[in-house]
């Protein structure tokens, strides 16, 4: 693409003497350009197709799960219609009870019954067994009144259960997306926040971004000097130091996390060392808390910071800094005005890599952090694997994707406006 743009730019300034030829030449050039572009497109077409089928499409399908309520709406179609005019508070009309009995009668013995029961249970505790129990003991359809349902379980006489049923009949549902930010619809249709003892998702999101930011900052502070050291060392030393960076990079994540538990535990080497040196009198809690999570995450992600910075530093000629110093800049000024801006692209890609990777971490904080140090990835995995609430997992994943995209946009904008080197 860039090559094509350059060619066009060069062809454009034609002198007045060539004017008669200019139009046809321009057209020819454009045609040649188009041909080249089409060939280039054809070359990457398999890759684009692969990306679309294996990445974009599943992503969109998964995200759609967060608002897709069609299956439930279809399964409870009659109940939904019967409840359409219900105000959410008063007694439920018998017609709705009759419709529910008819719907459950059709669902009985199919996997859809379990699907509906699970979906209702996400909303109101205990709905799953209530629905399954009711489906087992359905009254005959002629006798399907609210009282008959109430005799199966008195819970059916409470409007909360019916409000949950009504919420599950929306073809496009906001239920999971609201739940992902600790909110829900009340029976009247408004949005209310969950009580603080149940609402946890917003805090987990903030926590995830906070942990990722701290880890990224620490990686910058630790990684930049290391990259400089490797880039400016003799080849022998550089390869030794590079090995020291790469060896843990190649080691299994789980092994590194467990190793940190062994090192940091109350009677571990680090604590024994600190006490032996007389730095502390009692063991310092370094593991199963936020400190441990930070240490392990920084260690795991540090190579992602060092490698991009190093590769950029290798391409910066020492002559530039020397020239700056010879022109009278102090070492600090030479670093700040010359070296730092030149290495900024490496720093920028390292920061992005570390930050985005940190956002998705869950094994490391799960094993080495405390109960209050879990990140959002842990909960997405929990909803996918353990409770099979894929709608909720999709909503959380979508929110994470969205907020990451916002961070990314802000970031490229900042990086683009602050450093000319970054733009190239």
């Amino acid at each position: 693409m860039t090559a094509g743009a350059v060619t066009t730019a060069r062809a454009a300034p034609g002198g007045p003497a060539h004017r008669p030829l200019d139009a046809s030449l321009g057209a020819q050039l454009r045609r040649a350009d188009r041909g080249r572009q089409i060939r280039a497109l054809l070359l990457v077409a398999p890759l684009l197709l692969f990306l679309f089928v294996n990445f974009a499409l599943p992503l969109v399908l998964m995200l759609a799960k967060s608002i897709d309520g069609r299956e439930e709406a279809r399964a409870l179609a009659r109940t939904g219609a019967a409840l359409a005019s219900w105000d959410g508070r008063s007694a439920v009309p018998d017609a709705a009870a009759k419709a529910l009995v008819a719907d459950l009668g059709d669902l009985r013995g199919t996997p859809a019954l379990s699907m509906v029961a699970n979906r209702l249970n996400y909303d109101v505790n205990g709905m799953r067994s209530l629905v399954l129990k009711t489906a087992r003991r359905l009254p005959p359809s002629g006798d399907a009144t609210l009282a008959a349902l109430g005799s199966i379980d008195p819970l059916w006489q409470r409007p909360e259960q019916w409000a949950a049923v009504l919420r599950a009949t929306d073809r496009i549902t906001s239920f999971h997306v609201l739940a992902a930010v600790d909110a829900r619809r009340d029976p009247a249709g408004g949005i209310t926040m969950l009580p603080p003892q149940q609402g946890v998702m917003r805090e987990i999101f903030l926590r995830t971004f906070w942990i990722a930011s701290v880890v990224t900052l620490a990686c910058i502070v630790l990684g930049y000097p290391v990259a400089y050291l490797i880039a400016s060392a003799t080849p022998g030393w550089a390869s030794v130091m590079m090995m020291a960076v790469l060896l843990p990079f190649w080691t299994s994540l789980l092994v590194r996390t467990s190793a940190w538990v062994v090192l940091l535990q109350t009677n571990g080497i680090v604590n024994k060392g600190l006490q032996g040196l007389g730095l502390t009198s009692a063991p310092v809690p370094l593991v199963f808390n936020r400190t441990g999570a930070y240490i392990a995450l920084i260690h795991v992600l540090l190579p992602f910071m060092i490698l991009p910075i190093y590769s950029i530093m290798k391409s910066v000629k020492p002559d530039y800094v020397r020239a700056a110093v010879s022109l009278g800049a102090s070492p600090v000024t030479a670093f700040r005005r010359v070296y730092l801006p030149l290495t900024l692209p490496g720093l920028a890609s390292g920061t992005l890599l570390v930050f985005v990777s940190a956002l998705g971490f869950y094994i490391t904080p799960a094993l080495i952090g405390g109960a209050g140090d879990q990140m959002i990835g842990f909960f997405i995995a929990y909803y996918i694997n353990d409770t099979v609430n894929w709608g909720m997992a999709a909503a959380l994943g979508g929110l994470l994707l969205l907020s990451t995209a916002v961070v990314f946009l802000v970031y490229t904008w900042l990086a683009g406006s602050s450093s000319p080197a970054w733009r190239s």
Binding site: V200, R207, T266, N267, Y382
Partner: protein, 350 residues
């Protein structure tokens, strides 16, 4: 020459596609997925290897750590690579209702009455009976804790506590520590006030708790001295006694036990072989040696009678242990695990 290369490439791609065709799944060996660790090692030694030797059926092993989502994906994806899977009771109930598992023919398996109560299910055969309970290092405390009240007593038993990072088993222990009788635990926990009570009790020791996620962490936390008392799987602790020479004691009083099951995934091409293996594994003379290897209880009545007292004293199925223990209420957890996990996480964050 060039054409030759292209033809060769195309042919090999075609061949690869042919090999990967879903229909080929029927040619694979009987695949069993269990939970790893000492339990699966014992299964291999006592069940799979002798079965293969006897029948000539090759068995491929895999291990997993639960999650109905994985089974649903495998079955509904239409190309499950497991045949027989050891599942927990909540996965058994959920999966059976969703039609993920084959329904079992109990007459072919020798009748439900051969099994301990609860071990014969329309979709699953009880494989092991496991326990989670109070475990401590007897080298550290001579006169150890006897119940959950002692577990909460930070003065008499100083040091940290290990609990599972989640509401399951944790809320039960908290209520028993607050004086609720084992038989009333789930009755209390089914009321909102009971849940509040459990979390309030947990507040008392919150800052002294180390939360574990993987079963293997429990014995490690005790062995390293990181925690003084732990609510962990008994079999893991007892296996550490044997393999690492530890002196862990399991308090059977107020422990929580449950049954794991073997299920056959729906549409398994090796269904007949899987049933054959199920029958083999539940023969009393085959099953009776399992507890001695894995420190887990077994599910046929006849095999339980043949377990020597020295071994059965360390099993949840021992009458003395069972009398003072609490059976995990699977229905309660299937209904409430979502909301209580959310509440637990909110509580843990503060």
């Amino acid at each position: 020459m060039r054409v030759g290369i292209i033809t060769t490439c195309a042919l090999s791609v075609l061949a690869a596609v042919a090999v990967m065709r879903p229909g080929e799944a029927s040619a694979r060996d009987l695949t069993v997925a269990a939970w790893g660790g000492s339990s699966q090692a014992a299964q291999k030694k006592l069940y799979y290897a002798p079965f293969s030797a006897k029948t000539g059926t090759r068995i491929v092993e895999d291990s997993w750590s639960g999650g109905i989502g994985i089974l649903r994906t495998k079955v509904q994806g239409g190309n499950a690579n497991w045949d027989l899977v050891q599942v927990e009771a909540d996965e058994l109930n959920l999966g059976c209702e969703e039609g993920l598992f084959e329904k079992l023919d109990w007459t072919a398996l020798g009748g439900r009455e051969r099994f301990v109560p609860g071990a014969a299910h329309e979709c699953g055969v009880g494989s092991v009976v496991w326990t989670t309970g109070l475990v401590y290092d007897a080298n550290r405390f001579k006169d150890g804790p006897k119940n959950w009240v002692d577990f909460w007593d930070l003065k008499r038993f100083p040091g940290k506590r290990a609990l599972r990072k989640g509401p399951k088993y944790t809320l039960e222990a908290a209520l028993m520590a607050d004086g609720v009788e084992p038989k009333d635990v789930y009755k209390v926990l089914r009321t909102p006030a009971g849940v509040d009570r459990a979390f309030k009790k947990l507040d008392e020791i919150k800052k002294d708790v180390v939360w574990w996620t993987a079963g293997a962490q429990g014995p490690q936390l005790l062995a390293s001295g990181e925690v003084a008392l732990a609510n962990i799987y008994a079999s893991r602790a007892l296996s550490a006694n044997r393999s690492d020479g530890r002196n862990f004691k399991v308090v059977w009083n107020q422990s929580v036990y449950a049954i794991d099951y073997f299920v056959i995934l729906k549409g398994s091409p090796n269904r007949a072989k899987a049933v054959e293996l199920l029958s083999f594994m539940t023969q009393p003379e085959v099953q009776k040696d399992f507890p001695g290897e894995a420190n887990q209880g077994i599910t046929t009545i006849a095999a339980n009678k043949q377990v020597p007292k020295a071994v059965s004293a360390n099993l949840p199925t021992d009458p003395e242990n069972e009398a003072v223990a609490l059976a995990l209420d699977v229905d309660f957890w299937v209904d409430n695990v979502d909301q209580l996990t959310q509440r637990f996480n909110a509580w843990a964050s503060r």
